[in-house]
Symmetry: none
Subunit: 207 residues, 4 copies
């Protein structure tokens, strides 16, 4: 494993030594029967907000999409590349997940770039990508107290992604029929606590 | 947590009860100091191949991009939306990861659709998305034994993504300088084992 | 004037009979010397919120852009048609206006369509046009009390247009130098009163 | 009203002091019942040719679109931004106006730029915008006497906009049924006089 360095190798060895002995039957069953995850989760790429850790998930539970700032673009079936939409289509139509979660998190670099502008060095791709959320975040910046801006903006991006999910007709229909639930969550890194989007202006602690 | 159902709630409660007591100092430090992940990993959304589990990763270790079939599109700075490229740009330029891993896996539904065609119900988004890999997979279908096709095609997609990573000038330059390593891996679900891309035609077991 | 009906003809006759005798010298001077308006105003096409009436303006005072929902798109110099941007460029660079006002108004049909969706019969052009403001308005709909939604959304669109004005480098530079002022206003039709955008979340009465 | 300077404030105060006492019932009724303007007018942004003044219009009478050189682009329902078309769609289909007027005017800076070229400083947006009318104006420049060029070109742009209006199927149909009238006008600033487009080569005085 000459080209893979220590941390990954060490982690993989722990997986083999500590988890595989008890998990192998589960993995074998999943290989044979196929996956049937209950939840599709759209989360940020951030290393501090990993869905598998926060939900103590077992293999087979979560179908995971991760990108910068947990953004879901609106439905746009124009024949071009849409990575998030492809994952949604596969998770909803083929796998039949019963729940879609969008999970934002504290100290999000992508949301920060929506507030303060993307650094020049990431103007090529991060710039256009975060521009999806900038109009909403800038509105938040003008209408909430400064000391609440970061978190309110992170919540606003979760709201935006949830709204965009509902522009996919096959998501909206399943939600209307009660076959699919959409939930917005925010993970506070320093408190290790989830808050949840409700019909109130701000997210509320998870009961 | 009325709108989030049982499995997630239960997992989150385990996280709070079993992991948070020992992990909280680490999360607090990450919230304060910011993230400094050593590895950016591009993996599949598949619920059976979760990087955090396979590498027994702690929070802060892995910057994770997940999409259907762990695809990296080629460099195309045209001002349009490129979610994977945005995450690469952020991970390499802002976070300074020292390694990028592309991890494929067995029984990949995306690669299967490249071999057999995407079902009609997922023609809108999965269709165009997997078309990125179809030419390579079709070549594999003509040149390897049928009983090895699935795995060989999964490996071929990892190879394609690694090649595409090198079309990003700021990835190629860092790799040339020795500041960034690119690695291709494949996770065999039923064996729980990683194989690695080398200069041989087929991936090899990890030592 | 066979093809122009009564109301317009009657109005023009009043203009000739009642206003021209006192206004002709001013019009003649404006024809000779050219226009030098102090303000460029972006207002809605709505017949109930006419800038010339609300500011009791004389000819030569206001350079006026009117469209559905007083929207200013962001700076996008791509060589394509941008009617609002063309008017801004002409007003700022050629005429040297010293102020740009964006004026929203109560009961705005365009903002209403952002809240409730555009009727199908206007999906071809009103649909895409108002989509510029929909993300912000939908966020407002989730975060303000229902009985304040309409006005808060109208204010949010003025905010959006003001932010977009600042994406034009030659507007931002002039504002930074103090040579150009940007102001956001809202006209309450039933009260005949203007409110003004400040650094508070909601617009405030004009002193 | 710290951020709005003298002329506007003064005008608004005159509106409040001199017009509101007699106009308030009308505004209140318009707020309650909604607008029902009889005419949609496409006019130039020029400060010297304000439809509300020239037609001595009351609130509620005119649905107004104003841009550089009173241009109407042709029908192009491609899902992109078309501000003038959006206003036409709203005015014709939702409000049911019974008349569309295109009003040009003397000394039009936009038409002048079609004749002499747009100054370099306005090449980004005015350039492409006026290019819509340039072919017609260049034809006029070759076929009318030089001392009539400016006015003839201004008339030609009104004609062009009227022709383009007829490319909208829902305008052409309503005009064919007699439910909608299209009129072209030109305002001579120094004479304060309107001329009207007829089937003659040049516009004629309004009776």
């Amino acid at each position: 494993m000459s080209d893979i360095e220590d941390e990954l190798t060490a982690g993989y060895r722990r997986f083999r030594a500590e988890h595989w002995p008890t998990a192998h039957a589960e993995y074998e069953a999943l290989a044979t029967k196929g996956q049937k995850p209950h939840t599709l989760i759209v989360a940020c790429s951030d290393s501090r907000a990993d869905p598998a850790l926060i939900f103590d998930a077992k293999p087979g539970e979560l179908f995971v999409v991760r990108n910068v700032a947990n953004l879901v673009p609106p439905y746009e079936p124009d024949g071009k590349l849409h990575g998030v939409s492809a994952a949604l289509e596969f998770g909803v139509k083929v796998l039949g997940v019963k729940r879609i979660v969008v999970m934002g998190h504290a100290h999000c670099g992508g949301v920060n770039a929506m507030i303060n502008g993307a650094p020049d060095i990431v103007a090529d791709f991060v710039g256009p990508w975060i521009a999806q959320g900038t109009p909403v975040v800038q509105h938040v910046a003008e209408t909430v107290a400064h000391d609440q801006l970061e978190r309110a903006a992170e919540e606003a991006i979760v709201r935006l992604s949830i709204r965009n999910l509902r522009t996919f007709p096959w998501i909206a229909e399943r939600e209307a029929r009660g076959d699919l639930k959409l939930s917005g969550l925010h993970f506070g890194i320093s408190e290790g606590a989830l808050t949840v989007m409700t019909d109130k202006p701000r997210f509320e602690p998870l009961a």
